[in-house]
Subunit: 150 residues, 2 copies
Amino acid sequence: MNVEERIKTVGKIPMERRTIIHFMLVANTINEQMAQALKPFDVSIQQFNVLRILRGQKGKPANLSTINERMVTKMSNTTRLVDKLILKEYVERNTCPSNRRKIEILITLKGNEQLSKMDAIVSETETNLLQQFSTNELEQLNILLNKFQS
Amino acid sequence: MNVEERIKTVGKIPMERRTIIHFMLVANTINEQMAQALKPFDVSIQQFNVLRILRGQKGKPANLSTINERMVTKMSNTTRLVDKLILKEYVERNTCPSNRRKIEILITLKGNEQLSKMDAIVSETETNLLQQFSTNELEQLNILLNKFQS
DNA sequence: TTACAATAATTGTATATACAAATATACTAA
DNA sequence: TTAGTATATTTGTATATACAATTATTGTAA
């Protein structure tokens, strides 16, 4: 991808600005391809992320704050995100008996089955996105990603 | 940033998946910091992006499809995005006399003034985000970004 | 000229997201 | 016990975004 061509600019862009723009263009590509891959399952990237978190719990229920803490993109409304997953019968929600402020969220069998299928397609998408990277280059990229000030 | 710690996972993540997650975590950081930097001006990142595109036109008006084509994150509704900028009096809109299907969008003096101020703060944010990168590392990063399959 | 296709923008609708305020429950110190 | 504080989630509201349908205008071929 040629950044200047993509954003159709003629003037010179400072290296730092160019890098940030380039980065965000790639991030958008990743997002689009992931969203596209998940479309047949009618779940958003965020919903998929929540399902993965719940599977990682291995049967142990998670509450909303745990989920939010682990999400890649934190959204300010995990309640409604989970609502959508309940409607699809991918997760179930119960109030925690020991602490009734908390709720317990569990992935259902149906959710797990669908998630396996999503996983396969998402992996394919990841492999496709990164097909030009050697193992060494992937490591290099991760090292550079670590340099971003957060 | 330690990815595994951030998403609080214990199991091993495949290198490709880890890279994508890492990438998106950084992309979110960039977005948050940019949005924060622009907050005092009451414009979104997308609105800022449109203002920059209009300034790049150097007085020549742009129509909606031109703007959309040049945006970093294409959104499916540039009409309403421009509406917001008109409300703030940062841009003005006229129907193109030679082709009345098109509209001409221009940045106003007020828009240009505000944009200069935004630019300064956004540059600061960019520098801050990339402060740990040497020039060589920035080049390396841009080369790796080019390897993503789009 | 007129019908049809192409182009450009707008509008409708559903969902997503950010942020603040409200609600419900539990904990704690007087 | 009770008042106040902390925790956990939910709700309200505004804005953002995706996608499809609609409207307006222009170009073109019969």
